[in-house]
Subunit: 180 residues, 2 copies
Amino acid sequence: MKRIAVDMDEVLADFSTELIRRVNKKYELNITKSDVLGTPLHTLYPELTDDIFEIVNTDSFFRNLPVIKDSQEVLEELSHHYQIIVATAAMLSPNSFTAKYDWLREHFPFLNPNFFVFCGDKSTIKADYLIDDHIYQLNTFGDRGIMFTSPHNVNEPYDLRMDNWQELRTYFLEKANVEV
Amino acid sequence: MKRIAVDMDEVLADFSTELIRRVNKKYELNITKSDVLGTPLHTLYPELTDDIFEIVNTDSFFRNLPVIKDSQEVLEELSHHYQIIVATAAMLSPNSFTAKYDWLREHFPFLNPNFFVFCGDKSTIKADYLIDDHIYQLNTFGDRGIMFTSPHNVNEPYDLRMDNWQELRTYFLEKANVEV
């Protein structure tokens, strides 16, 4: 059975929507998703960089992230044809460990926690595929990467990009010779 | 540069010594390391199994583990010739995440946290070598495993075993063609 490694933030968990919501609330701003297309929030508002890190590096931030559309249903279906591991770069925000674990158990109860991996650099992950929003992680990963579209990466060139979980469903079911 | 994945409990952190100390204290027992040679504590005292899990699955347990003899000096020396990753099966005790991270930062400050991996099954780890005390992890890992001797595994047959960090030092420096 081939193995798919799935990133968490921006692939399963809607990190950017929640970050914008919190920053808007705290600073009474009206930033929208289209404002941050191709430009991370901390580049748009460099004076907020430290504060953004503080907002993000909390248990409550990660525990309350919305789930990315269709990720639950599609991942459950794919788990019958692939071994699924969740590989998330948690070492940059050590306060997020428990929240990330609890969030995954709540929203993806069909996944085996024995195949959750909290890492940093994804060259440490052994899998056939990696679905990720970060070009750095896709490049450091040794096997087939798939860039998952997120506001910050829309202008990033990469040879295999998917915009949503329905596209991922079709791609992986076809590869497994399952009727789509 | 070849990559060595190093397990944490019983390889860097002296899990069994601390567990015996806590169980002895709580139940006024006099268990010694020689009592648990080849027999895990929970097999020796099955009535304590749940309680042992409760003792272990705490922040304070993992935060206060003693460091295994010579592991700091040898790992620092090896880090000049190999890429070192720490791969620990933290998913079985989710309360341990932060303590494990803080413990590693305190006792192994020369290691890059971007190469810490908190996982479950070590088939998810990409490395050339894995130093581990568990036969299950050594077998599931795809590349060269090295069994690190620990009280519970003394009777476990495995084709490559090391009893201490000086043996690991010699093995890896010779492999890297460095004068020992």
